[in-house]
């Protein structure tokens, strides 16, 4: 009897001992908890709670009904989605603009950084940098206005220049030509973000050992050879990480540019998944259908991210996630 009691006693004291450090540390760190937990709850509400809303895609969601009163329909909205011709068109637009954006928006900033890195006149270099970061801070609303103005048929610089050098006989109405829309979006994005996206590559280049360049110069390597054999290999890890992350964001290209640059005449080329979800979900009040589109969008981007990361891992034994 006594031994059992003793045993129980030691057991419980062991349990206390095992837990005590945690609670004691927690008490000691109460300020740290107070300073972080409220914000974690905040994130939970605004970032995690919307995930609960994904259940809407499997219901015929009606506002005002409780969760249990909703009518469950399984995958019906997804089936309807995949059968919708409009969806295929929208998916094509989304992928086309993402891939164009990925290739151009990824390659050109590297090139820009490489060229900038070769400039020895510091004042010129700084001027170009300062100016090239500027459009990043200007809103898409203003950029869309600027692009529209530059491409306009009355007094737009692009048309003036094209007519001036005789490439076209009369001004082109770029903004009403669907086939131009993808190009306009891609180039506007490039104009806005090229400088900004080059920052990370310039930083990586600053970390390359200058002795490598000295040695190359002694060996008589030209500037182009130095770029090819020293600069580009030197920033290879950075290039790979940026590439993986861009692939992960491939399909979540947003809709701001498309919304602001688009107009009814080019809608067959400008509508992307998010806008499609917005039009159906909120415009027409079909919340469930809109949510299904959103889920599809998220799933594709997660799959792409994992795929890219997997390929990356295989070739470099590193992971970005």
């Amino acid at each position: 009897m006594e031994s059992i009691q003793k045993k129980a006693h030691t057991k419980s004291s062991q349990a206390i001992k095992k837990h005590r450090p945690f609670w004691r540390t927690m008490k000691q760190q109460k300020y740290l908890y107070l300073m972080s937990v409220p914000f974690v709850l905040w994130v939970f509400v605004f970032n995690y709670l919307p995930l609960w809303g994904w259940t809407m895609a499997f219901q015929n969601f009606r506002p005002g009904r409780t969760f249990l009163e909703q009518e469950w329909v399984g995958l019906e909205h997804f089936i309807q989605l995949f059968q919708d011709e409009r969806f295929h068109l929208v998916l094509r637009n989304t992928l086309a603009m993402s891939i164009m954006g990925l290739i151009i928006g990824f390659a050109i900033p590297i090139l820009f950084a490489v060229f900038l890195n070769e400039i020895r006149v510091q004042a010129f270099r700084r001027t170009v940098q300062t100016v090239s970061y500027l459009p990043h801070f200007v809103s898409w609303v203003v950029v869309a206005g600027i692009v529209t103005k530059m491409l306009s048929i009355d007094g737009g610089i692009v048309n003036d220049a094209l007519v001036g050098i005789g490439l076209v006989n009369e001004p082109v109405q770029f903004m009403t030509k669907g086939e131009w829309f993808w190009v306009i979006v891609t180039l506007s994005d490039l104009w806005k973000e090229m400088g900004w996206n080059s920052i990370i590559f310039l930083a990586a280049m600053a970390g390359i050992d200058t002795q490598l360049y000295e040695a190359a110069k002694v060996d008589g390597a030209s500037r182009l050879k130095q770029i090819w054999h020293i600069t580009l290999p030197g920033i290879r890890p950075t290039i790979l990480v940026v590439l993986i992350l861009s692939i992960g964001h491939l399909i979540t290209i947003g809709f701001e540019k498309q919304f602001l640059l688009g107009n009814p005449t080019v809608v067959d080329y400008s509508e992307v998944l998010d806008l499609y979800a917005l039009n159906y979900g909120i415009g027409l009040g079909r919340f469930s259908y809109g949510t299904a589109i959103g889920i599809f969008n998220s799933l594709v981007s997660i799959i792409l991210l994992f795929l890219a990361n997997g390929i990356f891992k295989r070739y470099t034994n590193q992971s970005v996630m």
Binding site: M35, E118, F137, V138, S139, V141, W196, S298
Partner: protein, 299 residues
């Protein structure tokens, strides 16, 4: 042999300077053009041919937009959301980042995982909208500042900066009997000015430039309008580069348009939204380059 290499390099340099000068022009010209048009007499602008200098200088366009009530309200709301959003955003990021930079904090792993995950997914447009509805944030000013207040990306940037500060600083304060909040407030925060300036810039620019939340949540309430949203409405009404004042009739900006052409109005509003950014930009440039690099390397 050597001579030809020297020539290669000279050609390269020449091409390089040409290319970068072109970049410079292509980036700057649109801004200068907008500025020139906004300062040019409106009926004269319609004749075309304005490049980077106004032909008939006037401030009438600017006067006209400030007679337009919605724009004034928009300007006030944009300013308010920028100030409130930035203060809340910077303060909360700094505080969370501090707790995560403490290696001894036992909640660190769980909390940082929960935060980092938010960078990779989002609930999407419709669930987000339903949440705002359920929280009764629609048709309020708070929908501008509360949802994005705690931002994982900013926290990562601040945290990696704090990781670089010597822990000894905190230890000596602890020996003096300071609690963790006091250490954060009095010891760490003052040292973080550069990184706080960086994220303040990011948050402020994000706030100043938003229009979609106004469009989605508050478009039916003119007293909650924002500058970017008003500009967006005007642009949408006059797309395709039309300078036709008729495209403008029936819009809320009609009154302003009566005296000044929509083209000039657009350009003047665009300048009003760009100028505040231009003012703070040179002061913060060295900080944001630093911050971007830090954040990018860590994430």
């Amino acid at each position: 042999m050597n001579k030809s290499k020297g020539l290669d390099d000279r050609i390269f340099d020449w091409l390089n300077y040409t290319f970068l000068t072109l970049v410079l022009i292509v980036t700057l010209y649109p801004f200068l053009n907008v500025l020139a048009i906004s300062l040019n007499e409106s009926t004269d602008t319609v004749r075309g041919g304005i490049t980077i200098f106004p032909r008939e200088f006037t401030l009438e366009n600017y006067k006209a937009i400030f007679e337009y009530d919605n724009l004034v309200t928009g300007f006030i709301n944009s300013t308010l959301r920028t100030i409130i959003g930035t203060v809340l955003g910077v303060f909360s990021s700094a505080m969370v980042a501090f707790t995560l930079s403490r290696a001894d904090f036992q909640g660190r792993k769980v909390i940082s995982t929960l935060l980092v995950l938010t960078l990779y997914f989002s609930g999407g447009l419709i669930p987000g909208y339903m949440l705002m509805r359920d929280l009764h944030l629609i048709d309020t000013f708070w929908v501008y500042v509360l949802p994005g207040m705690v931002n994982a990306f900013n926290i990562i940037i601040v945290r990696s900066f704090m990781d670089g500060l010597p822990y000894a600083l905190q230890e000596s304060a602890k020996i003096d009997g300071a609690n963790d909040f006091a250490i954060f407030w009095r010891v760490i925060l003052p040292l973080c000015t550069p990184v706080l300036a960086t994220i303040a810039l990011f948050v402020a620019v994000g706030q100043w430039n938003s229009w979609f939340d106004t469009y989605l949540y508050n478009s039916s309430n003119p007293s909650l309008t924002t500058l970017q949203y008003e500009l967006m409405k005007i642009l949408q009404n006059t797309t395709m580069g039309s300078t036709d004042a008729n495209a403008y009739r029936g819009t809320q900006a009609q009154e302003a348009a009566a005296s000044v052409s929509p083209e000039s109005i657009k350009m003047a509003i665009s300048m009003v939204t760009i100028i505040p950014i231009l003012i703070v930009y040179p002061f913060l440039q060295r900080f944001f380059v630093q911050g971007m690099t830090l954040g990018a390397v860590k994430s």
